[in-house]
């Protein structure tokens, strides 16, 4: 058994890496120029190039993958020469990057060609000083300086060559002088819980994502809690009555539900409950991310839609497995031993019949997530799926990558759990 579990875990880790790489390169390589979307179609190539540099997109794809996954502060640290740390900005509640210069959290700023040092105080405010003797000379003779700027980038200024950059502000693009030659947008990397900044909203992805994940987990959890017992029950019921009318009814109904896309089911449910019967709101308006906790009734239709689609699938799997088991030689033995039907089903059949569906159900969790995306879009539910959809449409790759990795992680971890459950149910693996 140890062997099986270790293999599963190793395979899971390898899978996660493969997936992260595939995801990253697919999006990075495939997607067009993201700056067009952010800056608008009327932006000039020069503006876009400048902005690309600020986003760090001018680095090689490999470099960015490593940055994305493991962060780049350790890389920037070597250039800056000081440890880089984060400190929470009390105004925004988000973390800012600072260099730890001998115990003082420090940033730099180039003002009219003069390098200024910003020292952070305990309360979060900073005071500005003139920086002296910081410039270094490179082999070509020009003076340069690596430091942390006020926009959480590690940057390189060159003395006397303040570049002209286009900065994105609330009011639009603004041309600024004194710009750095090189940017490293500081990040901790996905593995350390920092998936970067959302390009669409300009805020850290991690902050918005957590509320979304929570909402989705509520929706999926409620649906899962309804689907599983119900589907297993119905499937087993159909399985032990193979070929009888009850089985036919259950099979055909569940086939019908499974084969109907979520959006069709969802629309029909809205029509029935929202428009014709008027018992539930046809269009649920989620005023805030916490709306579901204030009005749980909003969950009803999304959950019902998910249930309709998933129930059929799981029930069919269970039925097939049950039919196969009921046909096996050892069930025949149990019947010939004179065991009552109930004992044959509960003691002999169910355990074996559940082995196959449990792995398949766990594999199916990513299908459930797919359903979630559609359901959340139909009902405007503020969850992970809706977030992925919005981000994907916008091309917000930081957000898509992070959210997709979360879904993948959920899928893979449930599959691992499925493997473990299978191991526990199946003594042939447990004792080998």
């Amino acid at each position: 058994m140890a062997r099986f579990i270790i293999r599963s875990i190793i395979s899971t880790i390898v899978t996660m890496f493969l997936v992260s790489a595939a995801l990253f390169f697919l999006i990075e390589v495939g997607s067009g120029d993201i700056t067009v979307k952010i800056l608008g179609v009327f932006s000039t190539p020069e503006q876009r190039a400048s902005y690309r540099a600020q986003l760090g997109l001018d680095a090689s794809a490999w470099q960015r993958y490593v940055d994305w996954l493991f962060g780049n502060d350790w890389r920037a640290e070597r250039k800056v020469g000081y440890p880089l740390v984060t400190a929470v900005n009390p105004q925004t509640g988000e973390a800012d990057w600072w260099a730890d210069v001998d115990g003082e959290l420090t940033r730099w700023q180039l003002d009219e060609g003069i390098l200024m040092t910003l020292i952070r105080h305990e309360d979060g405010s900073a005071t500005s000083h003139l920086s002296s003797g910081a410039w270094k000379t490179n082999t070509a003779g020009s003076e340069y300086f690596w430091g942390v700027d006020t926009k959480n980038n590690a940057v390189m200024w060159v003395r006397g060559e303040g570049a002209e950059v286009w900065a994105l502000t609330k009011a639009g693009l603004r041309k600024e002088g004194d710009g750095p030659k090189q940017y490293i947008p500081l990040r901790k990397g996905l593995l350390r819980g920092d998936p970067g900044i959302s390009l669409q909203y300009g805020r850290p992805v991690a902050v918005t994502l957590i509320a979304r994940i929570r909402n989705t987990l509520v929706l999926a959890g409620v649906a899962f809690a309804i689907i599983m017992p119900l589907a297993l029950f119905v499937g087993i019921l159909a399985g032990i009555n193979e070929g009888k009318p009850l089985d036919r009814i259950i099979s055909i109904t569940s086939l019908g539900f499974t084969a109907t896309p979520e959006f069709v089911t969802g629309i029909f449910l809205i029509l029935i409950f929202g428009i014709w019967l008027k018992v539930l709101p046809a269009v649920a308006i989620f005023t805030s991310a916490d709306a579901i906790f204030q009005d749980p009734k909003l969950l009803a239709l999304p959950v019902l839609t998910l249930t309709a689609v998933e129930l059929g699938y799981v029930a069919r799997m269970t039925r097939a497995s049950m039919v196969e088991v009921m046909d096996s030689a050892y069930i025949r033995t149990a019947i010939i031993k004179g065991m009552p039907k109930s004992r044959v089903v509960f003691r002999h059949a169910i355990r074996n019949a559940l082995m196959a569906p449990i792995t398949i159900i766990m594999l199916h969790v990513n299908w459930l997530i797919g359903g979630l995306v559609v359901v959340e879009v139909i009902f405007g539910y503020p969850g992970l799926g809706y977030y992925i959809y919005k981000s994907a449409i916008f091309g917000d790759f930081n957000a898509v990558e992070a959210a997709a990795m979360v879904t993948v992680a959920i899928a893979i971890i449930t599959r691992l759990l499925g493997d473990l459950a299978y191991t526990l149910l199946n003594p042939r693996i447990r004792y080998s």
């Binding site: 058994m1 140890a2 062997r3 270790i6 293999r7 190793i10 070929g243 096996s328 030689a329 050892y330 025949r332 033995t333 149990a334 019947i335 010939i336 031993k337 004179g338 065991m339 009552p340 004992r343 003691r347 002999h348 355990r351 074996n352 082995m355 149910l425 199946n426 003594p427 042939r428 004792y431 080998s432």
Partner: protein, 701 residues
């Protein structure tokens, strides 16, 4: 004593017919079957596959599925009608008064329940016994079926014990409630011969002790002879003959029974001195049985009356029952072989001729992975399954080497290594002077062509997607042995040689019977005119009547093409009949090798002796010495040191201090003659002193 008290039969079938509903009608799988079984009696039911013998067992248990039912007749159990009993009444009978043991114990046991739970529920459900008490009983019963370490076995899962032990558990489970009737459907077919022998002994013991009526279903004439008191022979859904076991073998009345007995080689018979006579034709399908006697199309004694009048089962003056119009008139000794059976002649081979295959110290180890953390990441100590250890032999052109041994003895690995499906770990192997220790990928095409193989399972030997012609012509195209435009003619020539005929060219495998598929398999192997053909149990999956035909065919081919054969089988009689030279293998090691007739008579290796003692012989008058091996075959990962057989050897104590030497030292090869060698510590003199295992009882019964 038992004859004194007349007791009613436990099971009585009268004119039973069982039918299955299928699309567009129904099929009567079993017709006109009548018999009774008394207490303490074993009725052996023999017949070839598809004759309806298993259906009969299911009919007794009223377990015919959704589409089967007893169409006519009555099945009385303990005087009470079983047909039509359903629900709770039926459930109470099953497992309590009627129990069953099946062919494949691994399938019959629930893989995810502990054996103890599976056994004890029989008692807790039927008798309302308390769990602890029931488990106590189960343990006693396991002891009774000679299961070592019963308490431990109760806690295990089916896959953790061996096949023979599983069958003991199933038998113990069946006997827990002291049933009046025990139905056994091929209970030993999946077991090795030495294990089978032990289980058969057990069944005989238990029948005496429990006074149970046993309905024993099997296809094996040898097994029937060993366990039964009376025998019923079934053919095409009908019971054709019923008599005591002695009578059936000594004086078979029905032409089919006579035919069956002529099909199987007697242990000790060889191809030079005896001939196997297959039954011509094939069993008619249930929906197309002849109007008259079901056996008439295949009967040598057919008369006009047989064609249109169906005979009844009737009793002859000597007490046996037979379904034949002319049972009294048929004299088996007047039977003459059909024209088409050529009796191969001049089959004595010279083993000293030109060697075609030379194998020396051949080893094949497989690496196995452990399950510890170290093993998973590849740092664990490497362990090996020692599948073949130091095999050495020579094979003369045109002769046959038979390899016998129980499952896991390495005989299949040996031929896989020779043919190149596996590469060799070490040792030498030369075929026609070429080195063949490499794998087939590295061999020259012309060498591959000379080494071909015939496989065991007729159902998987042919690719279901291609016609017979396509499959036989493929080797000719591949090896380019035949010009393209002549391939068809060549294939048809081969088909004729296989006695199949040109009209088989376009048939698909699913239109062929098992024997025909096997013939095509042989034709395909011969298509490239190989010098050496390796046969991996080519007849073990076939019915006996077909088996004889295939063996004859192989003999004929060998004679015609002067092909050399390596013939693997687990049936000792077949190997003896078929081979010139025999190698006995145990746990990867060749234990004895020599001319066929020498292997089957002393001096022999203690393992060969045990095998001979275990093999079921289709003749109740033959006496076998009683030798049973203890324990089970050790793992090939850690084979015993010294002699690999020492853990089970019944002859060890003939050596001083109980054979200590066997545990530590690898035995020497004892040269009995130039060709005959025995791998044993026992000196030749002692080996020579062994009494023969098989003796013909001279006393008339």
């Amino acid at each position: 004593m038992t004859e004194l008290k007349k007791t009613p039969p436990v099971l009585k079938l009268e004119d039973v017919a069982v039918a299955y509903k299928v699309r567009g009608g129904e099929i009567e799988a079993v017709q006109h079957v009548s018999f009774e079984i008394n207490r303490g009696e074993t009725l052996g039911i023999v017949g070839e596959s598809g004759c309806g013998k298993s259906t009969l067992a299911w009919a007794v248990l009223n377990f015919l599925g959704n589409n089967g039912y007893v169409k006519r007749g009555s099945i009385k159990f303990q005087g009470q009608e079983l047909v039509g009993v359903t629900g709770e009444n039926l459930r109470r009978l099953r497992g309590d008064q009627i129990a069953m043991v099946y062919q494949d114990p691994m399938q019959a046991l629930n893989p995810s329940m502990r054996l103890g739970d599976q056994m004890s529920e029989v008692l807790t459900v039927h008798r309302g016994m308390k769990k602890t008490e029931a488990e106590q009983r189960c343990m006693e019963m396991l002891d009774r079926v000679y299961m070592p370490d019963a308490a431990n076995v109760m806690k295990r899962y089916p896959h953790q014990i061996s096949g023979g032990q599983q069958q003991r558990v199933v038998i113990a489970m069946a006997l827990l409630n002291d049933p009046a009737l025990l139905i056994m459907d091929e209970p030993t077919t999946a077991l090795d011969v030495t294990v089978e022998a032990a289980v058969l002994d057990l069944i005989a013991d238990l029948r005496r002790e429990f006074d149970t009526a046993i309905m024993y279903i099997t296809h094996n004439l040898g097994v029937v002879a060993r366990v039964s008191t009376r025998v019923a022979v079934m053919y095409a859904g009908e019971l054709v003959e019923r008599a005591t076991v002695e009578e059936i073998y000594k004086n078979p009345r029905h032409p089919y029974t006579q035919g069956l007995i002529r099909c199987v080689p007697k242990l000790g018979a060889d191809k030079a001195r005896s001939v196997l006579y297959p039954i011509r034709g094939r069993v008619p399908p249930p929906n197309n049985r002849p109007v008259g006697c079901v056996f008439s199309p295949r009967c040598a004694f057919i008369q006009e009356r047989c064609r249109d009048q169906r005979p009844q089962l009737r009793q002859l003056p000597d007490g046996s029952w037979v379904r034949c119009h002319f049972a009294e008139k048929i004299d088996p000794s007047s039977w003459t072989p059909y024209d088409e059976i050529k009796t191969p002649e001049n089959l004595q081979r010279d083993l000293a001729g030109e060697p075609i295959l030379e194998v020396k110290d051949l080893k094949k180890y497989y690496e196995v992975r452990g399950s510890s953390l170290k093993d998973v990441i590849g740092l664990g100590e490497k362990r090996y399954v020692k599948a073949v250890e130091n095999a050495s032999f020579q094979l003369t052109r045109g002769t046959t080497l038979g390899v016998v041994g129980e499952s896991g003895c390495g005989k299949s690995t040996l031929i896989k290594t020779i043919i190149g499906l596996e590469d060799t770990t070490s040792g030498e192997a030369h075929f026609l002077g070429f080195d063949i220790t490499n794998s087939i990928k590295d061999r020259d095409r012309s060498l591959i062509q000379e080494l071909q193989m015939v496989f065991q399972n007729p159902d998987s030997t042919m690719n279901p997607s291609y016609t017979v012609g396509q499959q036989i012509s493929r080797p000719m195209q591949h090896f380019k042995t035949v010009p393209k435009d002549q391939i068809r003619a060549e294939v048809i020539k081969l088909l004729d040689a296989m006695r199949l005929g040109a009209n088989y060219y376009n048939r698909l495998p699913r239109q062929l019977s098992g024997g025909e598929k096997q013939r095509v398999g042989i034709a395909r192997a011969l298509a490239s005119h190989p010098d050496l053909v390796l046969c991996d149990e080519p007849v073990s999956a076939l019915d006996v009547s077909v088996q004889a035909a295939i063996l004859n065919l192989l003999l004929e081919i060998q004679q015609e093409y002067n092909t050399t054969l390596v013939f693997i089988a687990h049936d000792l009689s077949v190997v003896r009949f078929f081979s010139d030279q025999v190698a006995v293998m145990y746990l990867g090691q060749v234990m004895e090798i020599g001319p066929a007739e020498d292997i089957y008579a002393p001096p022999y290796h203690p393992y060969s002796e045990a095998l001979l003692s275990a093999v079921p012989i289709p003749d109740p008058t033959v006496k076998q010495k009683y030798i049973r091996l203890e324990g089970s075959v050790p793992s090939a990962i850690n084979p015993p040191d010294g002699c690999r057989f020492h853990t089970r050897c019944p002859r060890r104590n003939l050596l001083p201090d109980g054979g200590k030497i066997c545990e530590t030292e690898i035995p020497p090869w004892r040269e009995i003659s130039a060709e005959h060698r025995i791998f044993c510590h026992l000196p030749i003199e002692i080996l020579r002193d062994f009494a023969p295992v098989v003796t013909q009882s001279t006393e008339e019964i």
